[in-house]
Amino acid sequence: MINREELHRIRESHKPELEAKLLANGTAEMRDGRLVLAGDYYKKQTRVALKNSGLIDPKNIDDYIAFDGYRALEQVLSEKTQKDVIDLMTEANLRGRGGAGFPTGRKWNEAYGIQANQKYFLCNADEGDPGAYMDRNILENDPHAVIEGMAIGAYAVGASQGYIYVRAEYPVAVKMLRIAIEQAREYGLLGKNILGSGFDFDLDLRLGSGAFVCGEGTALMESIQGNRGMPRMKPPRTSHKGLWQKPTILNNVETLACVPIIFQKGAEWFRSIGTEKSPGTKVFALVGKVENAGLVEVPMGMPLNEIVNDIGGGVTNGKALKAVQTGGPSGGCIPLDLMDTPVDFESLAKIGSIVGSGGMVVMDEDTCMVDISRFFLEFTVDESCGKCTPCRLGTRRMMELLDKITEGKGTLDDLDDLEQLAKDIQKSSLCALGQTAPNPVLSTLKYFRSEYEDHILNHKCSAGVCRNLTAYEIQEDTCKSCGICKKNCPVNAITGDKKAEIPFVIDQEACIKCGVCYQDCPFDAITK
């Protein structure tokens, strides 16, 4: 157990040591009097939630303390009332980074205002979006920031017990959290009478078991209670009746990682970053056909093309950008002509997409938008918990329609049915999984309708993705008769002979459209 003075001592003695080490080995550089990661990739970023990632050793609590760790908790416990904490959060207007963007201060205030013999404070670390991994990064590199954020929130609402619900698929994150919780307990930063303030708060880990819907608040709580993780009806809100029917606050990993620094630097500082309605930064997982794929943290409101081109370095292989998909299976596809849209909660909602948990998938001309919406729908069909009919059956029917279209059997009526079903499912599903599942379909129908029509009317998939609608052909004038395609074709569908001067051709009947010849041709002589 340490007290406030000892916390200061660790900070003062360890910080110069750590800074010197990071500067000496080239990991970091000084910027505006603060240590940041070195390299051009980080220059355009503003790291708030990721401020310690890559700089500190997540297994060493002293490293975290050195960079002002647990300073906010210490000040909150010694100087602020519960109401003060909530007021400051409300003023900072930190909005939930897990997807919904609900104001954190307002959420905390709900639970604070309710009398109960027990309240809970939970962290949602069940990051299941395909193509998003910012929470994993924070948990693996800076677990104490999440723990400190939880402790501050728990103090504000009056919770004495917390749980972190983390995916079992993230074994390193689980390990780092275990170590961090143990160390925090040893130092007396978790447990009874934290830093002598009389405030008690302890934490446990709960591992998810592979159900995407458990990222939804009520489903997550059902799962912690040992049940099938199926969503419950709301209201009552979980801040009134959550885990075991007690007032419960659930915040996402990235949201919680922002909490300590807001208390260190103040609400005004936080609001100076980002936009008026969406202050602060957001971490995005910039992936897909982009040159520098990786995590980027930028102020809210940065235009999409700045993220993709200036930070991400544009599309790979000199291909043309077609769309950017944000928000994973709950989000939408943003077309090229809307690339100057600022990325914040309101602006993306206006164009039919969402910020979501922060997945950002770059797509080029080789991506078929019909296939992409089918891909996301297949995911939601698999992951629907089955409790409500619109989601269980409706998404399946939508996928069948998309199957028809990608196989070249669709009709224009199918498009109308698809649109109608999508709207009905949005309106009538029980939880956000079903309510948002049609988004990828609706946004592609809106911006790429001609591609759907091309599939239906002309039996053509211009991206060459839908197998039934693609034909590979060898262009005689560019073909050098090297024979690589013939050698690699798994079904011997290619004939031709260089010596006998027989031109190379693909037997369309035998071709299974695996695309191996197209990829392997050194002279780009094969078209689709």
Partner: protein
């Protein structure tokens, strides 16, 4: 396939596991952590163990089964020491993957999705592994076998059988 859980052979593990259940009896929402521990310990969830959990935690067996079947990480069939995945993607299929699957099934005496009684091999028929140019592809644990012929199957199995004997 029927698979009997060997209570005698797992006696020690079962005793340890019963202890684990006892320790977690009072823990709120213990069911999932207990199921997770069972799967780590036994490699899968045998019916006997799920019944043990039901009585140990005083919850209906139907609830234990209901929860276990909901989450995709729980499995009810034991996996063998070596997992043989046969790609049945289009390219592999056309090049005779079905024959190769059947050859594995004949030699090992089990069907796809099953495990040999001695727990050495499991067969999984999987969707495309993305190695179409090497079709047909068989993946054993982490080793990839390209352009597999029916006559190769015996040798592949023998290779892992030998390793098993050495380890044992």
């Amino acid at each position: 396939m029927e698979f009997t859980f060997d209570l005698e052979k797992n006696k020690e593990k079962i005793l340890e596991f019963k202890e684990f259940i006892l320790e977690h009896r009072k823990m709120p929402g213990a069911l999932i952590p207990v199921l997770q521990e069972a799967q780590v310990k036994f490699g899968y969830l045998p019916q006997e163990i799920m019944e043990m959990i039901a009585s140990g935690l005083a919850v209906p067996a139907s609830k234990v089964f209901g929860v276990a079947t909901y989450y995709s990480q729980f499995t009810f069939i034991p996996k063998g020491k070596h997992n043989i995945s046969i790609c049945l993607g289009t390219a592999c299929y056309v090049k005779g993957a079905q024959d190769i699957l059947e050859e594995f099934e004949n030699i090992l005496g089990i069907k796809g999705g099953e495990t040999t009684p001695n727990l050495q091999f499991s067969i999984t028929d999987c969707r495309c592994v993305g190695d179409c140019s090497k079709a047909p592809v068989v993946v054993v644990d982490e080793d990839v076998y390209a352009k597999v012929k029916k006559s190769d199957v015996k040798d592949i199995i023998a290779k892992y059988s030998q390793e098993v004997e050495c380890v044992d």
